[in-house]
Each structure stands twice: as structure tokens, then as C-alpha cells.
């Protein structure tokens, strides 16, 4: 396998493993509710089994070893020797977390157990049968040699074994996976054979195998060929001499044999027996690889693989004149690699702290998440088809040009123009479809984020001894990948907050006449070009007065400021940094950090939050986000002779109000719109444009729904709605908070997009800095 292949395979496995772990988590939660459901037990088992088998194949050896122990436990549940208790589910869920860490470690050779690994294995030990406890312990504490056993295996294939398609060498190779071994070949029959029949097997083997595996595993190697050979397996006390023989000496012996076989093979090849020579070389290279691998010599393993690759290339028939020289060089390189010490021998790896291990484990994962995107193949097919059609349609245009050139005089230019217009229309329709498809590739179902919450709610409920049901709906709703990636953290905070602070204790709920089981609803749905995600709990609700009091006590807001707040503005106090309503700092939340993350993240996504709550009934957080980050709708506005775009997602409505209704309260202009009073902000002022003299009696105002509260943005004119592709700003402009990006208009012109979400807050903070006093959140 080439190096690029391995990387590809590992990247593929990472994706598969992530899916498997997610499915495993979901299946475990189901199993907790229904511990005797054989179908669910099987689902859990299969996910583990695949994780182990494919993990080992993709080189994730540590992950595979770890999963093996967990799989054993579920094998016992499957065989009804064990019950899936909540404690066991707890340990297994932790094991899933551990798998994610090990997945991050990748194909490492470092065997230092992670703290979580040791913890999980310790928690699982009571559930393992006696025999496996030993291996479990060996894994956790790296007590290795004590459980190894030595077997003497006599392997005498029948003469006709080749006819059943069995290769004795492949069985011996399979044995090498179990441990270290010493193979003796009895060639007496071969030498005595007369006449010699090349289709018969004359060889017999005696193998001494040192393995930690059970005898059953050794026996299993020969299971398929029992009828075609005579196999004896005896348990043997390791002889003193065998023990004295160092591992290194055995490695040297094995590799020397392989090298002389390779030399012999090349001689065969040169003397005309090309196929035979190649077959011998193939086998010798395989032996060399196994020996290097068993010795943990990765450098030599790679060098030996190169030899095998060269042999394979020659075998499949790409005959190459210089092959012999090349392969000889490769063999020499392998010999040098074998003679050089293994990496493990030179570098004594320093003991590694937990922090470092955790850091390493997360890094590659983050990298993969950013670099790749998984796409539904149906969408890709559609994309391919469209691209093809577009090419065909484009091809029609030069042909038209030719015709115009040659027969311009004969055909009426009117009909030609029509044909060209039709072709142009077709191209642009295809381009539109193509763009829509590309966009849809970036769209992913919110399920990708939602699926982590059942586990979160379960863990919190178990920790706090509450009963909480999580009801999820609208998982199919699609959002742009950027939004999906960014929305996980804020949602986690909201849901955690709901489970921790929102839902009351069982006793409190019963006392209030509510069901002892709390309920959190997590839903997503589309509204226009936006997606709404709602988290609703039936807990104790937010107390606006208490929130206001607390904000004043903490010195976050002034008395006057909170007095002017309406209910919703008061609820939003919980989104302010440094605010926490709970005195006791719990393990889960209540540290006053977290909820302000919610506001920041949603703002960064150009979304808006609304909070509704009723004391004793519950609280609902409603996050509205643009479904796609690429194309969004905006309103073009004119301001002081410039043109800018306001993102439509933040605009509640656009109105014209008489200038005469504007009042000023403590220097803040305000105006009533349909009975509600909004603070006003002049866009020209906010963007530091020169404010033109307003002669008109009416003001054009866009009511903006910002997370910090609604406000009226005064512009000169509304120029109309537009679909824009928003690109983030680079360079100097990237640091200007008044703008979110630049929009490329249909005619190619670039127009700046205003950060309406933060504009008002920015102005307020400037004022605050100026006046050095606390200013209320606008309400």
C-alpha cells in the first residue's frame, strides 16, 4: 500500500468511526430504556465490531485493542450472560468518549494508556469474564509477559492440500499475528520424493509460538483446513533456552532467512525461471514484512514493503528492463533498514502528561473537520449532470458565432438574435441550477448537531437525579455547513442550562403539581430563507424581576436602566457576560460563563435570539439563523450618497415615520412605531458618513432585531431587495466591526454589507466609553 493510500484509508475510517460512535451512543441510550431488546444489543455489538475490525485494518491499532475489551462485554450481553445495567451503560458511554480520543491519536506506536482509557477499563473489569480480566489488566497496566503461553504446533498438510486452494504458507503467516514464533520446516519427504510431483505438498512444519492469545485462537487458524491436514497443538512450558534467546536474535535469524530466500529468488529469475523466481520473491518479501512488523521495526517494514511492491509490479506484468537492478537496490535498502536500530530503541519516549496527550488527540480531528465535507452522492450526481449540460449549452454559442459570420446576410438577424437569446437563457438557467446544487452540497441536516444532545441530557439528568425527556423534531432541516459547525456550542449551553437550571428537581416538580418527568423540546424548522432552532423546557421559567435585581447587585446595569426594560429585554440579561442567577456553582453550569457565548456565536452567524418565559411554566429560546451563508437576501439602501446592503435576516420591518414623532430621552432619540417605542440610530452617523440635511418630513426606518434588542435604523432611501453573495472582508477592513462583509451584486459591483446585528451595541459602547457611565440595554 502506498503512503497516500493509507492516509486516504485513515481519513475514510475517521469519518466512518465518527458515524459509528454516534450510532453507538444513540443505541446505548435506547438500550438503557429497553435493556432486553436483542435488536438493539446487536446494533451496539455490530458497531463495536466494525470499529474494531476496520480500525485495525486502517492502522488504528490502539483503538482496535481498546474496543476489543468493550466488545467482549457486549458479547456477554448478547449471549445473555450479562445485563445492560445503567452502570454498564455509563461505562460504555465513557468508552465511546475514549474511542473518540484514541481515534484522534491515530496510528500511534505509543502505548501509554490515556487516563480515561485506564478508568474505562477499570470500570468494565467487573463485567468481563475471568479469562479476559487478565488481558484487560495487561492492556491497562502493560503487564505483558506474565500471561504469554508457548505452544508447540505440528502442522502436517496432506499431499493434496493445494487442490483445496489452501496455501500452507498463508496459515503460517496467520499464526504470526498471534505472537512470536519459531518455525522449523521438515524437508525430508521433499528430498525423498521420487518422482517429484510439483502439485503435491511434501513439507511439514513444527512451530513454537509464544502468544498471549488463548489456545482456541491458535486452533481457529487451522479450522478451515482440519480435513486437509494433521494439526497438533500442545501447550509447552517455555524452555529456559528459548527464554534466553533474545528477541533481537530471533529477528535477525528470521530476516536473514528472508534475505537469502530473496537472493535465491533473484537467481531463479535471472536463470530464466521468471515466474517461479517472482513467486519465491513474493513469499520471501511477505515473510520479511511479517518479521519486521512482529519486531515493531517500522522503518524496516516500510523498506520491506517496497520490495514486495516491486515484486508485485513485475508479477502483474508491467515488465521493466531495469527491474532487476531496481529490486536489488530495494533489497539492499531493506537490509540496511533491518540492521539499523528501531526507532523505539534509540528514542526513549519521555513520560507524557495528560494535558499533552489530550492536545495531541484533538488536533488531527479538528483538522479533518475543517478540511473535508461529506456529500450525499445524489447531490454530486446532479452536479455532474448539470456541469455536463452547461458545457453542451456553452458549445452551442461558438457555433452561432460561426453562422453569424458566414450567413449574416441570408438569415434575418432578428431570428438569429432570438436563437442566441434562447441559448443564453438556457445557459443562465443551468448556471442557476448549478449554483443551487453547489449550495445544497454545503447544506447539511441539523441532525449532525442534534444527535449529541440525547447523551448530554441523559448525563445531566443522571448526575442531578432528575428525570428529563428530550423530544427532538425537525432533524432533517438543513443549514449551511458553517452554521452547523458553529451552532453546536451555543445550543449545548442552552440545553445544559435548561436541564440544569430550568427543569426543577423531582420533588419540586411533584410539589408544584407537575409531572415528575421534565421535558425539553428541541426543534428546527424553516421560516422563509431562515432556519429557526427552538429549545423549550417546561421548568421553572425565568423571573424577570429577579434577573433585573441580580444585574443591579452585580453592578452590570443601573437601577434606571433595568426599570426601563420590558420583560424580554430582562430575560436577555442572562446572555450578558458575567451573569449567573445561581449562587451555588454546580459542576455543569452556573459559572456565569457560557450563556454569553450563546449571544456571541449567534451574532457571528448573523442570527437573532428571542427568549420567552413564564414563571412556573418554562422557558423557550428561539434562535433564527440564515439557512445559507453564501447567498442571502439583503435590502439595498442609500445613505449620504453611498449604497450599502442591510442583511434581511435581521430586519423585522421597514417603515416610514413622520419626523415629528421623534423624541429624545437622555440624549437618545426614540420614536414610536405601531405603539412600540424604539431607540433610533442614524446609519450615516454609525458609519461616519457626512449626514445630509434632511428636508423630507418622513424618515425611512428599518426596525432591526438585534440580540441586544430591537432598534430603528434610519436610512435615506430603501432601494430594493437583492440577492447577494457575501464574502468576508480581508485585510484592514476585516477589523472594521461595522461591516460583516462585501456583497457581490449581479452586475459585478461590490457593496459593503452592514453589521446591523452589532451596529447599535457598537454605538452604545462608544457612548459609554465617552460618558463613562452604565447604559441600559435597549428595551
Amino acid at each position: 500500500m502506498e503512503l497516500g493510500d493509507l492516509e486516504q484509508l485513515q481519513a475514510g475510517f475517521r469519518h466512518e468511526a465518527e458515524d459509528l460512535l454516534t450510532d453507538l451512543g444513540a443505541a446505548l441510550l435506547l438500550l438503557e430504556l429497553d435493556p432486553h431488546n436483542a435488536e438493539v444489543v446487536n446494533r451496539v455489538f455490530r458497531a463495536m465490531h466494525t470499529l474494531k475490525g476496520s480500525g485495525a485494518s486502517a492502522g488504528f491499532r490502539r483503538l482496535a485493542n481498546f474496543v476489543h475489551h468493550v466488545e467482549e462485554v457486549f458479547n456477554r450481553i448478547r449471549n445473555k450472560k450479562l445485563q445492560a445495567t445503567p452502570e454498564l451503560i455509563d461505562a460504555t458511554l465513557k468508552a465511546c468518549d475514549c474511542c473518540a480520543l484514541l481515534l484522534g491519536l491515530g496510528s500511534t506506536d505509543d502505548d501509554t494508556p490515556l487516563p480515561l482509557e485506564t478508568e474505562v477499563l477499570a470500570a468494565l473489569r467487573p463485567f468481563l469474564p475471568e479469562m479476559d480480566k487478565a488481558t484487560g489488566k495487561a492492556q491497562a497496566a502493560t503487564v505483558a509477559a506474565s500471561v504469554a503461553a508457548r505452544y508447540k504446533i505440528g502442522f502436517r498438510p496432506n499431499r493434496e492440500i493445494f487442490f483445496s486452494g489452501t496455501d500452507p504458507a498463508s496459515l503460517l503467516l496467520e499464526l504470526t499475528d498471534l505472537g512470536e514464533m519459531e518455525i522449523h520446516c521438515d524437508t525430508a519427504d521433499l528430498l525423498a520424493a521420487d518422482p517429484f510431483d510439483p502439485e503435491q505438498c511434501y513439507l511439514r512444519w513444527e512451530v513454537f509460538l509464544d502468544t498471549k492469545q488463548a489456545e482456541q485462537a491458535v486452533r481457529a487458524v487451522f479450522q478451515f483446513v482440519e480435513d486437509d491436514c494433521d494439526v497438533s497443538i500442545e501447550h509447552e512450558e517455555p524452555a529456559a533456552s528459548a527464554r534466553a534467546e533474545s528477541k533481537a536474535a530471533r529477528f535477525r535469524g528470521a530476516t536473514q532467512q528472508a534475505f537469502s530466500a530473496l537472493g535465491f529468488a533473484l537467481e531463479q529469475f535471472q536463470s530464466g525461471d521468471e515466474n517461479l523466481g517472482l513467486a519465491t520473491a513474493h513469499r520471501a518479501a511477505q515473510t520479511l514484512i511479517s518479521a519486521c512488523k512482529a519486531h515493531g521495526h517500522s522503518g524496516a517494514t516500510i523498506a520491506a514493503r517496497k520490495v514486495l511492491e516491486a515484486v508485485l509490479a513485475q508479477q502483474v506484468g508491467t515488465l521493466d528492463g531495469g527491474w532487476l537492478t531496481k529490486v536489488k537496490l530495494l533489497i539492499e535498502a531493506a537490509r540496511l533498514a533491518v540492521d539499523s536500530p528501531t526507532v523505539a530503541e534509540i528514542v526513549t519516549s519521555p513520560p507524557r502528561g495528560t494535558a499533552v496527550a489530550a492536545e495531541i488527540s484533538t488536533a488531527p480531528e479538528a483538522a479533518t473537520a475543517a478540511a473535508s465535507i461529506r456529500v450525499d452522492s445524489v447531490k454530486l450526481d446532479a452536479l455532474m449532470r448539470l456541469a455536463g449540460e452547461l458545457l453542451v449549452a456553452r458549445g452551442a454559442l461558438p457555433a452561432f458565432a460561426d453562422r453569424v459570420e458566414h450567413i449574416a446576410g441570408e438569415e434575418s438577424s432578428k431570428s438569429m438574435a432570438k436563437e442566441m437569446r434562447d441559448a443564453g437563457a438556457k445557459v443562465s438557467r443551468l448556471a442557476d441550477d448549478l449554483q443551487a446544487t453547489v449550495m445544497s452540497i454545503r447544506m447539511m441536516p441539523v441532525r449532525q448537531v442534534f444527535q449529541r444532545f440525547p447523551r448530554l441530557v441523559r448525563d445531566i439528568a443522571r448526575n442531578l437525579d432528575k428525570n428529563i425527556e428530550l423530544h427532538v423534531s425537525g432533524e432533517e432541516t438543513e443549514l449551511d455547513k458553517t452554521v452547523i459547525d458553529a451552532i453546536g456550542d451555543p445550543l449545548t449551553h442552552i440545553i445544559r442550562n435548561a436541564a440544569d437550571h430550568g427543569i426543577e428537581s423531582k420533588a419540586d416538580r411533584v410539589e408544584k403539581g407537575k409531572s415528575a418527568i421534565g421535558r425539553i423540546d428541541l426543534s428546527a424548522y424553516t421560516r422563509g430563507s431562515n432556519v429557526v432552532i427552538e429549545v423549550k423546557d417546561d421548568g421553572k421559567g425565568l423571573d424577570a424581576e429577579k434577573l433585573k435585581r441580580r444585574a443591579v447587585e452585580k453592578g452590570l446595569l443601573t437601577e434606571a436602566a433595568v426599570a426601563a426594560m420590558d420583560e424580554e429585554a430582562a430575560f436577555k440579561i442572562i446572555l450578558v457576560a458575567g451573569f449567573s442567577t445561581v449562587d451555588k456553582v454546580t459542576d455543569l453550569s452556573g459559572r456565569g460563563v457560557g450563556m454569553d457565548v450563546v449571544r456571541n456565536s449567534v451574532e457571528a452567524l448573523h442570527g437573532a435570539i428571542r427568549i420567552q418565559s413564564e414563571i412556573g411554566k418554562g422557558t423557550s429560546f428561539r434562535i433564527e439563523l440564515p439557512a445559507s451563508m453564501l447567498v442571502s437576501k439583503g435590502i439595498r439602501v442609500a445613505v449620504s450618497g453611498h449604497e450599502v446592503v442591510l442583511p434581511i435576516s435581521t430586519i423585522r420591518e421597514m417603515v416610514k415615520i413622520p419626523k415629528s414623532v421623534v423624541r429624545s430621552v437622555q440624549g437618545q432619540p426614540i420614536a414610536p412605531v405601531r405603539g412600540t417605542v424604539f431607540p433610533l440610530l442614524w446609519l450615516a452617523h454609525a458609519l461616519s458618513f457626512e449626514r445630509m440635511e434632511e428636508r423630507r418630513a418622513e424618515l425611512a426606518v428599518a426596525i432591526i432585531d438585534a440580540a441586544s434588542g430591537p432598534y430603528g435604523l434610519v436610512v435615506d432611501h430603501f432601494l430594493g431587495e437583492v440577492e447577494v453573495v457575501v464574502k468576508p472582508l480581508n485585510g484592514v477592513l476585516a477589523k472594521v466591526p461595522e461591516y460583516v462583509g462585501a456583497a457581490i451584486m449581479g452586475d459585478g459591483k461590490t457593496v459593503l454589507v452592514v453589521n446591523t446585528e452589532r451596529l447599535f451595541a457598537l454605538q452604545r459602547s462608544l457612548l459609554t466609553a465617552h460618558n463613562d457611565r452604565l447604559v441600559a440595554l435597549p428595551g
Binding site: 466512518e16 475490525g53 481457529a220 514484512i289
Partner: protein, 122 residues
């Protein structure tokens, strides 16, 4: 003509590994993610070899093997099972159901290639 191989495994990683190894050696590999899908593909076309995992959703490898052997065109087609060491009892079951051989997971690409080459030659 390149020999056609049907690779059946519910793990995309395993299918990727098999396809990568075998197509590089000049074989044509068709993938199926469970026994039922494999049976469908096998019935619709002809294959020179079937490589199948055992533990899969919908239809297991053993069941697939039994169903394949019941089809006249697959009575003698080599079927190699891909198993893990913990399933030794399954191996026996597979043999009884008519498997030609087996490969133990995890395997080296060259091991797979060796088994495939041999089974297809004999």
C-alpha cells in the same frame, strides 16, 4: 478482461481497503454494503469472486453465501469470507455453507491480494 470481484462489507473502510488493493492489481471491484444488496448485484451480473464480511445488518454474510450457492450461476464461484478472530465458530458455519476460504481481519493488503490471486487461479 479484468476479473470482477464483489466486495461485501458494511464498513466503508473495509470496502475502501479492498477496492484500493484489488483495483490496483487490475481487478474490477463492485461494492455492496450488506448481504441483501450484494445478492441483488450478484443476481444482476456475474462475478468471478465474492469477498464477504459476516456480521452485517439486513443480511449476514453466511445467509448471503447460502443464497448465492442456491443460484445456479454461483454454485462454484469462489466465495471468501472476511472474519475476525473472535468468530471462530462462524468460520465453521461458513465452511459448512460452502465458503471457499477466509481472510482474517485485520489483514495486510498483500495478504488479501495473495488469497485472491490464488483463489482465482485454481
Amino acid at each position: 478482461m479484468a476479473k470482477k470481484i464483489l466486495a461485501v462489507d458494511d464498513s466503508s473502510t473495509m470496502r475502501q481497503l479492498i477496492k484500493m488493493t484489488l483495483s490496483r492489481a487490475g481487478y474490477e471491484v463492485v461494492e455492496a454494503e450488506d448481504g441483501a444488496k450484494a445478492l441483488q448485484k450478484a443476481s444482476a451480473g456475474t462475478f468471478d469472486l465474492v469477498l464477504s464480511d459476516i456480521n452485517m445488518p439486513v443480511m449476514s454474510g453466511i445467509e448471503l453465501l447460502r443464497k448465492l450457492r442456491a443460484l445456479p450461476q454461483y454454485r462454484f464461484t469462489p466465495v471468501v469470507l472476511v472474519t475476525t478472530e473472535s468468530q471462530s465458530e462462524k468460520k465453521q458455519e461458513g465452511k459448512t455453507a460452502g465458503a471457499t476460504g477466509w481472510i482474517v481481519k485485520p489483514f495486510e493488503p498483500e495478504q488479501l491480494l495473495a488469497v485472491v490471486t490464488k483463489v482465482l487461479r485454481s
